[in-house]
């Protein structure tokens, strides 16, 4: 018996619906949760470096998300693991970039930049240079609690 033809978009919709339920409504049983330990410290290359006090900004429109998991890779500076891949500072093919997200188990938008400049500060007689490695992530992620969340995060 022949099945009625299914439009491609409908198959895609069904597949995406199945994936969504598998990820978000299975009680986390289908998730492969990485067990790596994190000394999650973001990269900070500015004169002002951010520690992770995790201040809450205006988050009235955000769900109370759990801590996101860091990406497994990154680098080590001064013996501290940094789960971050800076964008290249030299011309590099876009296809060669490392994962620019700091969040693991992430599906969403990422903006990232490697940028430099000059600035002036208290007590400085002339402009000083800076380099900033900054960006943001916005989307869905599986948090440290193993559950799905949505959120927006900035890395400084």
């Amino acid at each position: 018996m022949n099945k009625p033809p299914v439009p491609p978009w409908k198959r895609l919709l069904q597949r995406k619906t199945d994936e969504h339920f598998a990820v978000f409504h299975s009680g986390g049983k289908s998730l492969t949760r990485r067990g790596f330990l994190s000394t999650a410290t973001g990269a900070a290359g500015l004169a002002v470096a951010s520690e992770f006090a995790v201040p809450r900004l205006s988050m009235a429109d955000e769900e109370k998300g759990a801590e996101p998991k860091p990406i497994p890779g990154g680098s080590t500076i001064a013996g501290v693991a940094i789960h971050h891949n800076p964008l290249p500072a030299v011309p590099t093919a876009l296809t060669q970039i490392n994962d620019p997200s700091e969040i693991g188990d992430f599906n969403g938008m990422i903006i990232d930049t490697q940028i430099r400049g000059l600035g002036t500060g208290t007590g400085l007689s002339m402009p000083v240079s800076f380099r900033a490695d900054m960006g943001a992530m916005q989307g869905e992620y599986v948090g440290e609690d193993g559950r799905p969340h949505h959120g927006s995060f900035v890395f400084i």
Binding site: L87, F106, R131, V154
Partner: protein
């Protein structure tokens, strides 16, 4: 990594335009990267002296604009995939603590080294598709 409001991040992937605007984010000013990573203990191998972190606030206004390249990236080793556009970018930022204030120069597109906007999936969201090479 700091949670922020949804409104502080604006992204139009198709147009290659995005912005990140945050105001008065409380941070600790650790003077330099090494003191930040070592929580003010300095880093003797490089002769970086200890500097106690102090409370500070920073504000940023970063804009991404002008697509110069686009690509699908599939990286099995790093377990991520996505569509990315390379763009120009500008930054305007300032910082203030009890005894120090900093203000960057006016936004200057020539200062950008590398900037991207992307829609990606990693970890449990990573998957291969039929047309992946």
């Amino acid at each position: 990594m700091i949670p922020t409001s949804r409104d502080s991040v604006q992204i139009d992937f198709e147009e290659g335009v995005a912005s990140l605007r945050v105001r008065d984010v409380p941070v600790t000013d650790a003077h330099d990267l090494y003191n930040n990573l070592t929580k003010g203990q300095g880093y003797a191998p490089l002769g970086v002296p200890p500097v106690a972190p102090v409370p500070a606030k920073v504000s940023f206004d970063i804009e991404w604009r002008g697509i110069t390249d686009s690509a699908k990236v599939v990286n099995v080793m790093q377990n991520f995939r996505g569509k990315f556009v390379k763009t120009g970018a500008t930054i305007d930022w300032s910082a203030e603590s009890a005894n120090f204030a900093f203000q960057s120069e006016s936004p200057n597109p020539a200062r950008n080294l590398y900037a991207v906007i992307g829609h990606e999936q990693n970890g449990v969201f990573f998957h291969l598709e039929a047309d992946d090479e």
